[in-house]
């Protein structure tokens, strides 16, 4: 009997490792794309877009690696994979949106992609956007997740209020710098709760998997 359990655990672990290998590869490509965007001139933006597309493709491939049969056979590990994937997705959204904050202050028309990514990250934090099936909802919207999200949002609330106070001070002292203050304020209002959630979820140490 013990041998059977060990074989099951080893199989589940292998599944999780494969899934995460592809996912981390996708995140790595995403980071590489952002760094290239920072380093290279604007002519290379199409190359960066190709990298982002490859990263998104890899993410979907990693999702497809875990089938419904696997999920039914290893429910604990599957839940863990979902939760970790959610954390990584939040960081990825933040990463994609982060470089836009500087440009938000510089351009009269904010870069649409970055804003969409930031808002998408926020939506995921409020209601996990991937909850389109009951199974995913069960994995991502359980009690601890909800409490952690609530804590993160409360921190975001306090952050945003302090940001608004800072904006009021900037408006009174240096109106010319108001756009920069607002752009970074908006970014901080999304980034702080997302990072807080990721850290809280990571610290809650519910990991069944490496």
């Amino acid at each position: 009997m013990t041998g059977e359990f060990e074989r099951e655990d080893a199989e589940a672990e292998r599944l999780v490792r494969i899934s995460f290998f592809w996912q981390w590869l996708g995140l790595g490509l995403l980071i590489a794309g952002q760094v290239l965007r920072f380093v290279l001139p604007d002519e290379y933006i199409p190359a960066e877009c190709v990298l982002v597309l490859i990263a998104v493709g890899i993410t979907f491939y990693s999702i497809s690696k875990v089938t419904d049969a696997d999920a039914a056979a290893y429910p604990r590990q599957h839940r863990d994979v979902q939760q970790k994937r959610f954390r990584v997705s939040l960081v990825a959204m933040l990463m994609l949106g982060s470089f836009g904050a500087g440009e938000l202050a510089r351009l009269p028309v904010p870069p649409a992609l970055d804003l969409v990514m930031l808002w998408y990250g926020l939506t995921m934090l409020l209601v996990p956007a991937f909850c389109f099936t009951y199974g995913v909802k069960r994995d991502l919207d359980e009690e601890i997740n909800r409490i952690l999200r609530t804590k993160a949002l409360r921190l975001g609330y306090v952050t945003l209020l302090l940001v608004l106070v800072a904006v009021a001070v900037v408006a009174a002292i240096r109106p010319a710098a108001l756009m920069i203050a607002l752009a970074w304020g908006l970014f901080a209002g999304i980034a702080v709760p997302i990072l807080a959630y990721v850290v809280l979820d990571w610290l809650s140490d519910r990991g069944e998997t490496p």
Partner: protein, 232 residues
């Protein structure tokens, strides 16, 4: 002199009586301040001060200090009259008197919200009189309100925290904070647009957004508490 032989039931009854009394006295003081201000403005417009040889500029400077002094005297009176004895600050007693204390905090939140909204309206409508002190006082009040709603009165003392911060209260606060976050986020996005189109309005618009993000969650919290059946 504090009587030590009171039973818990008598203390609870006294606490409720004192709360009602304090609310009525506070209301009277608030109305008095409004009436005095209206009378002062009316006397100023009719030139009554000149008839009695009073310098209007000096009266304008003295009147706010008179109001502050009046409120200070009331604050000292309230501190002495309604000071909560040590025996009534024990968590065991607070738990027995929970409904009254929740009701008190609801009223405090409600009154603070009302005052904050009135102060904000006053600040925003008087564009030519906006100064750092008035902006600071409005912002301080709004931040206090927001922190009171998101973290609760428990941050003031350990015994209050033990008695008041039950699961329902925390859930209500979390809901209010989530609404506040969404409003603040929406407000910040609106501010961005306002700053693009009408930069001269950005200062006042920020205070309005801050007011909406503080006062609306406070009122929502009071509503949630009331709906949950803690009306008392």
């Amino acid at each position: 002199m504090e009587r030590v032989d009171l039973t818990d039931e008598e203390r609870i009854a006294r606490s409720k009586r004192r709360f009602r009394e304090s609310m009525i006295v506070s209301l009277l003081v608030g109305v008095s301040v409004v009436v005095l201000t209206v009378l002062y403005k009316s006397a100023e417009q009719r030139g009554i001060f000149e008839q009695f040889g009073v310098n209007t500029a000096q009266a304008d400077k003295a009147f706010p200090w008179f109001l502050i002094g009046l409120l200070g005297v009331f604050a000292i009176f309230a501190l002495i009259r309604y000071w909560v004895p040590k025996a009534e600050r024990r968590p065991e007693f607070l738990r027995k008197n929970l409904d009254t204390i929740h009701a008190q905090w609801r009223w405090v939140t409600l009154i603070l919200s009302g005052v904050a909204v009135l102060n904000t309206i006053n600040f925003v409508t008087k564009v030519e009189d906006q100064d750092t002190a008035s902006a600071g006082s409005v912002i301080f009040m709004l931040l206090t309100l927001a922190l009171l709603v998101s973290f609760g009165p428990g941050c003031i003392s350990k015994s209050y925290r033990e008695a008041l911060n039950d699961e329902l209260m925390r859930t209500q606060r979390a809901k209010a904070a989530r609404l506040g976050y969404l409003l603040a986020m929406l407000g910040a996005a609106v501010l961005y647009v306002v700053n693009l189109k009408r930069p001269e309005l950005a200062g006042s618009a920020t205070v309005v957004v801050l007011c909406a993000a503080s006062a609306i969650p406070s009122l929502y919290f009071v509503l949630l508490e009331w709906v949950s059946g803690r009306e008392n």
